[in-house]
Symmetry: C2
């Protein structure tokens, strides 16, 4: 089966058309089976394609001059969606013209348009934004929700766990991913009531869900490599993700200052370059670009607004991987397998307790 093509919102992101097209071209060079629908201003897209004949050969252009800006509120974006590159990329997914949409534009607008256009999967109340974070272990860790839902109930968290586990199976090949809920302590009594409720449900339904539910984790243990999926509400998830990003940048700045503070340090830096390159690779957000909206009838991937071409290429590669592995179908299958069965079991337990 050939890979469904990927719709790229060519106009989103801080850097605009050039970076989006370069990123797609880079991804295309790595994987020549990728096909694209490039959505945006045809003249500018064609100009950007001049240096990328291979991408041009495997792309179709869908023209529009409408653009969602960073200032558009979700409600405004929704009204204007139909004539914009972001809205048309998502519409292409709905119409079956593309398997997934990638955009570096306004996150709130992307979320709103994706949700209204594609609707959530049966059994999913709300979609969630998931991303991969580096760890000290062999695999990246998936964290969700990263900001799609400011407030969540325990049912949402359980659904996020199911979606995150499906994503993790694709990334790690592990059939029973290790899932934890983000909390401010690991003892069972810690945190809010809704976290304890979600933990009880996941504990009971874990086996049916092919999830190894390992209880709570704290934010300093996300990157240790002993958990595959960290589940949280969108507020806490966004705080945790940004705290990680900000600290990584803070450290990089300190290192830069330190290494340029004297000739001796500069010499040392050059000699130990392989060591600092490793760090740079791990800390560069471009190497972990691509937030995935899970739980919709179709895939929508958010590339970081400030990502460079390498970052965009990584977001495209994540998208292609999830398409190849049918992550959406896997989530649906998971939900069906559990169905009413384990939820009923859990409800019975709750009454007993």
């Amino acid at each position: 089966m050939s890979l469904p093509r990927i719709a790229v919102d060519a106009m989103g992101g801080d850097e605009g058309v050039r970076v989006m097209i370069e990123g797609a071209a880079l991804a295309r060079r790595r994987h020549d089976r990728f096909k694209f629908l490039l959505v945006g201003d045809e003249t500018r897209i064609k100009a950007a394609l001049e240096n990328h004949p291979n991408l041009r050969a495997s792309s179709e252009i869908l023209h529009t001059e409408g653009v969602i800006t960073g200032e558009d509120k979700p409600s405004q974006a929704l009204r204007r969606a139909k004539s914009t590159s972001m809205g048309m990329a998502i519409q292409a997914v709905k119409a079956g013209d593309a398997g997934a949409a990638v955009s570096a534009g306004n996150t709130g607008a992307l979320m709103a348009i994706a949700k209204v256009t594609l609707r959530t999967l049966p059994g999913i109340d709300r979609p969630a934004l998931a991303a991969l974070l580096p760890t000290l272990g062999d695999n990246d860790v998936i964290m969700l929700d990263l900001g799609a839902n400011t407030e969540c109930d325990s049912r949402n968290l359980v659904q996020f766990a199911i979606m995150g586990a499906a994503y993790s199976r694709v990334v790690t090949g592990r059939e029973t991913p290790r899932v934890r809920l983000l909390n401010i302590g690991t003892e069972e009594i810690k945190g809010t009531e809704l976290l304890r409720d979600a933990a009880a449900t996941l504990k009971a339904a874990g086996p049916d869900l092919q999830i190894s539910f390992d209880g709570f984790t704290e934010a300093d243990k996300i990157c240790r490599g002993d958990v595959d999926v960290v589940v949280t509400d969108g507020f806490s998830g966004n705080i945790a993700l940004k705290a990680v990003e900000g600290t990584a940048r803070f450290v990089a700045d300190l290192l830069r200052r330190g290494f340029s503070s004297s000739l001796r340090s500069k010499v040392g830096f050059l000699i130990s370059r392989p060591a600092t390159e490793l760090l740079k690779h791990h800390l560069d957000p471009n190497n972990h670009n691509g937030g995935v909206f899970l739980g919709l009838n179709g895939l929508v991937v958010k590339s970081h607004g400030s990502a460079n071409a390498v970052g965009v290429a990584n977001a495209v590669a994540v998208t292609a991987r999830l398409l190849e592995e049918n992550v959406t179908e896997r989530i649906t299958a998971s939900l069906a397998r559990v169905g009413e069965n384990s939820l009923r079991k859990n409800a019975a337990q709750e009454v007993r307790v």
Copy 2:
């Protein structure tokens, strides 16, 4: 006026008596006006004091064999408090035998005992845990609450802002600290209703409170040096703090791996040591040790359970600084200055809008 003495729970922390006494001795060496009440097992304290004649000369020992362990739940700790080193250190503050208590023991227990024994200041509904974080600017930033209150309302957040500002004035000397609320975006529409309520109150009452309220900040901007106080609920604050700590540790581990990966890297590391030492200094949590419970009738400072003697000494130094500068009295004065006045003004505004 002489500095009130500091009660040290000598039995708390992963490392126990030796580290607590060494830490106090180190603080005493730096500032010879510090006086201590060392609470715990007299035999073990005396043994630990043998190498520290100066500390011994400026300390009194309060004997008890009771200890709150890491496994004690807050409710158990409360019942046993009176006969434990933690409980007696806090009781000494209440009785006026000490100006502040420092403990490296169980945070939940410390919080519960401190709250029940010392009670909150008039006008404060709940105490908060505050700590200093490093920044790229000239001053550390204060973040609170870091986990004392899992759930907060907007009134709590406003009180945290007042307490954090008082702390910041002591640390930075800035009369009008720059205060922001932690959120998942900086636009006014972002986040929860309670955050928007707190923002409206702080905006209106800022001038009366001698606070420069600059709106929302995101977790990746905490350490940039353009904010003095970051206010949040205990759940998000704990997540943010631990994400920062975890990432710092993650980076340190990566650096260590990188630098020991080859002879070349090891040589480079030795040459560029001054650069990496700067980083190490900034990332070492011992250099930012000492979480302060603000809002109680008396000061209680939490030293990190795994802190070394330098870390304990820093926690003691923070405590002494806050005692010298009468932070508790400053909070009371701030509250009185605002009083009903600005709250009434704000209520009137809210009705108008």
